[in-house]
Symmetry: D2
Amino acid sequence: MAKLWKKGYGLDADAEDYTVGEDYLLDQELLPYDVQASVAHAEMLSECGYLSKEEAGSIVSALKKLGTLEIKKGDEDSHTAIENYLVEKLGETGKKIHTARSRNDQCLVAMRLYFKDHLQKLESETNSLIEGLKKKKDVPMPGYTHTRKAMPSSSGMLFSAYADSLEDDLALLQSVKKILDKNPLGSAAGYGVPLKISKESTTSKLGFGKTQGNPIHCANSRGKYELLVANVLTSIMLDLNKIASDLILFSTPEFGFFKLSKELCTGSSIMPQKVNPDPLELVRANYHVVSGYEAMIKGICSNLISGYHRDFQLTKGPALKSMKITLSSLKVMQKIISGLEPDEEKMKEAMSKELYATEEAYKLVEQGVPFRDAYKEVGKRFM
Amino acid sequence: MAKLWKKGYGLDADAEDYTVGEDYLLDQELLPYDVQASVAHAEMLSECGYLSKEEAGSIVSALKKLGTLEIKKGDEDSHTAIENYLVEKLGETGKKIHTARSRNDQCLVAMRLYFKDHLQKLESETNSLIEGLKKKKDVPMPGYTHTRKAMPSSSGMLFSAYADSLEDDLALLQSVKKILDKNPLGSAAGYGVPLKISKESTTSKLGFGKTQGNPIHCANSRGKYELLVANVLTSIMLDLNKIASDLILFSTPEFGFFKLSKELCTGSSIMPQKVNPDPLELVRANYHVVSGYEAMIKGICSNLISGYHRDFQLTKGPALKSMKITLSSLKVMQKIISGLEPDEEKMKEAMSKELYATEEAYKLVEQGVPFRDAYKEVGKRFM
Amino acid sequence: MAKLWKKGYGLDADAEDYTVGEDYLLDQELLPYDVQASVAHAEMLSECGYLSKEEAGSIVSALKKLGTLEIKKGDEDSHTAIENYLVEKLGETGKKIHTARSRNDQCLVAMRLYFKDHLQKLESETNSLIEGLKKKKDVPMPGYTHTRKAMPSSSGMLFSAYADSLEDDLALLQSVKKILDKNPLGSAAGYGVPLKISKESTTSKLGFGKTQGNPIHCANSRGKYELLVANVLTSIMLDLNKIASDLILFSTPEFGFFKLSKELCTGSSIMPQKVNPDPLELVRANYHVVSGYEAMIKGICSNLISGYHRDFQLTKGPALKSMKITLSSLKVMQKIISGLEPDEEKMKEAMSKELYATEEAYKLVEQGVPFRDAYKEVGKRFM
Amino acid sequence: MAKLWKKGYGLDADAEDYTVGEDYLLDQELLPYDVQASVAHAEMLSECGYLSKEEAGSIVSALKKLGTLEIKKGDEDSHTAIENYLVEKLGETGKKIHTARSRNDQCLVAMRLYFKDHLQKLESETNSLIEGLKKKKDVPMPGYTHTRKAMPSSSGMLFSAYADSLEDDLALLQSVKKILDKNPLGSAAGYGVPLKISKESTTSKLGFGKTQGNPIHCANSRGKYELLVANVLTSIMLDLNKIASDLILFSTPEFGFFKLSKELCTGSSIMPQKVNPDPLELVRANYHVVSGYEAMIKGICSNLISGYHRDFQLTKGPALKSMKITLSSLKVMQKIISGLEPDEEKMKEAMSKELYATEEAYKLVEQGVPFRDAYKEVGKRFM
């Protein structure tokens, strides 16, 4: 299959496998965004006189018919697959699609569109979880510090705290979405192109908030913007990790405050009695997976001079995979919250007197005893 | 020295050393913020009738005279040091300062004030660096991809890309500053207090944008908000890592595009000729230090149920240290940029003909040759 | 498809997708090891009287014919696939294979066999790289510190340093291989089984060095042993990262000490002249990928009480993937080293006089000048 | 204060602060090892004719009297402090100590001696913990999987599993100690010295197992050997994290299997009744601190060409600090284990019938029922 950079001698087969890696598989998910940007690019080239109206028309029409093209290993990536497809369909005209662009800005713009779209989905799934949390019944239960009973609390206060924390994530998400909302198309390989193209035209066609003017900034934002998105994902997953940690413990028979929906538990292959909270455990663990992917991105982008390096290709997997994990974790958590039942009897029983020790100290305070003395007085009752 | 929670038996000496750790040293930096919040707390207690006007007056007056109290290991932390100081100065009245608060919300509010103040400093230092970058002379130089010459670029384009990237960081910083701008005082140990206090009063006195209402959300934001700040710091340090990587390479004799100020280089203990870019190397390495501190925070906060755990104490060091490193790295980088001189002769020499290969291909494109054919045609000249 | 723990109600479809994850794909690679252990298990059960000779014989014979069974998503994992296969083939007898074992120890033993086998491969690939390095021609070249010329060195000294460092990795590998060389089969779900089985029998049949006696130790080594292997992989990848970093820089035209084989370079989609060291860049980046997978394992295993948790499932992907990446990176690096050519002319030119400054200082030392004075004297010549 | 590389112009004050960092503080701990190596170096220089017997004698004698020299910020590091001290005491003779060495190999050898000494301490503290674990009473208790009761277990089996896991760490420790047991002194700045020195002599004097011959290997092992030690520390801390996670949960009133010594618990500043397991929580959290330091080392050492870079200086803090944390965590854990009391009543109560479900299934198996059918039969009783 034709490589865009082919020069007449072949790449070593092992080296080819190694360099392509899983890129051709990952790009399957990026393909629609690559096509969308290619359409805008072709139309802009026509506006600027680099393609005739007919050429642009046939390219756009071919791209719109492309559907679910399967990217083969030999294609290397979606960018190559698209050009190969156009050359096959349109001959000479197809060879013009790559005018004034590089795979670098093509990848940048596809990732950017992917992120904008998926941050939207993330926002929507997060909001659904928040709504689910707000619908739950409010039942008094003990509040814990140091995994020990502390003061009176309630399931409503707990769920509302989850919701507040997810709202913080949404604020971060909005900010990252705005930072990313810049069109990098036209930056080519990171140093622009010596042609009179209109970046503003593709910015408008693709619905970006603004044009990312400096081409080196475009190139250097590869990996860095992936990291910003990863920050959002890690932040959300840390909240889900907290919810999962709470529910795994509070649904043990020893605590017994909540019952998990049976449809969301699994069993053991050896112990007949077991009902295990596997989805919650996997949510908990997936925080670390997403956090590990963030670590990959942070490492890959470091100690590199400005401009593109092939290293950046390996930020794509972590970015796409951690987005997918976070979205599915949010969905599973929505179901878990929805199916969760408080065991009001158990919760009531658990409201034992040590939870009210601070309140007792405050009663002495209201009688004029300095707080530290009241604290010591009440403390003696629990020794 | 009196522990706030003392119960009549001693803590094992090794366990005490282990639990106090470096907290008493770190808290020295938090002390002014702790005092500021304690003043607001005392005034609020008086407004709400838990302290007489005289008591509040004497507490506030003592706190304002406190100056640079040295926190001793035996004090455990700044919170204890403040209460011990007030009891020593004011007797019974001092024992009332801890009414309606816990060390948990006291620490939360002090950290919050510290962050607000230091994010401001960070913004200001980042802006100074951006200004410094914009002042540098613009000289043509080669643009690199894959650490190989790619297309024509310029030092102005490069420095302006740094500035754009730092602007992205500032957008993130603004967003994080806003998320953090909530008053947690009054959340006590994470479950509020059964007293009629006014959180709104301390919110207003301390200049917070809003009150963080849900006390569990307050408790659970310990560590999580540290992570948000760490995201900002890592983002800035990644930019500085890029600048450092560029300048270390571009100031080698082999490249020779820039000369570093001698006052910012060090020598070797054995090789008499050496002039080494040590500050740049340390900026590069400090990205990893800050990123490692972020990893600590991410790990410490995971797999824990809601509510306070002593684990969170260990997020304080990473937070304060990475803030300090980032601020000093920004300052050093300002000086490095300010002292940097382009070697225009070397840069001119480096503008060799392969940089113009893409331009040549585009000349063929302008003559009607499809881009991919033009690319192949020009490619032959470089084989 | 039958789940081993099925209880008469279905698992929610999304939860099932979420819990199965990519496990059924990963297990394809573990299947041969799972089969190998199942054979030993069946034979042991027969020896201990839990299976008749005929039953064991038919199970072993069916397992040996199993070949490349495709594990379907509905199978959940290789353990289930094997039992389902045996029940389908052998009816009642198949239902007996899971006697005295759990999926936990089944997975533990399969991973252990996988690791033993792949550590062997890793050792062999590392040795091949060492041999390749030792075969390269020795040519004088500058030695660098701080990315600046320091003292005279040679390509032979450099390659031999790589080899020495890889030898260190092999020492670590040997040690980890020995730690892992323990049979966990029979630990069941982490608390053994109340049956009279012989762990020693499977230990011997499977070629393990010893039996891992304590079943909780077996359960708790899930993740921990993955981390030990990850330590070895990270160590090797850090060496390859160093080699890659050297060769990327030393093969730039600006340095020019080495020429890379063209078959191991790729081009640009836009710049006709480019010959890029992509495989080296991916080796460099893959260090961070492997290191990120290690971070996942480190995070997943933390803050969990003893005994199995579903979280551990997610250590499988990082373990298998980082092993695969390291093996392929070693192979690619062997080819890169094999195709590498020194540019002796360029290397000779680069041996400039500042490299000999320390030697000059030592000449003064030999004449009786104290070293620090000699250093200062020679230093003046380079100011 | 004289810098070893001083050239007649000053380093910018901020840059000096930035480059020295906390090195002068960290080096206080390395000083005895630096002195030990300096003594061996002086004696070797005399044997090889670079110092007269008198000169060497006076240097060695001065070094032995050096005691607890305080390293000042202006000294930069222990290497400079030692040379400055010798010049002050001995004049011209002092200026000869740095003959045939660089701060690079001086630091390498000091770190190596520090590691050898502290790995020994680590081994000893780990062994003490193992012994402590083996002394505890064995009481039946439930075994857990998925944080739910699984099968019968015992505290003895649990503690013995901890011990077995720590034994694995000791095997890793031995291997790392052996890898590190090489003398790097004489490698100078990473390219040796053009003098006839005897590395074997210092190898023997300092008690190293062998000489690290290749000077580039010596230079490149900076950071890499720190990583190997970090692997050992992380491995031990992961075990302590597991023990801490178990004991925090199992000592809650809800589980109640163990009572912690009161001398190892702390209280709350607001809640009079609280007895919190703070040392255990800090052990748990310190795993993440040590793991974060490991991440720093892994990041700092990456993407750097061969030879020394100033970046490596920043691996010193993580190495020394994580060693210190691990040693103190082991000590605290020894005390915690020693003071731990089983609550036999609570443990007995907890041995409820679902723990025996697997045993019941096996009773059916012994009666000839295929395991999977027996499992389903018993499973029905728990639905």
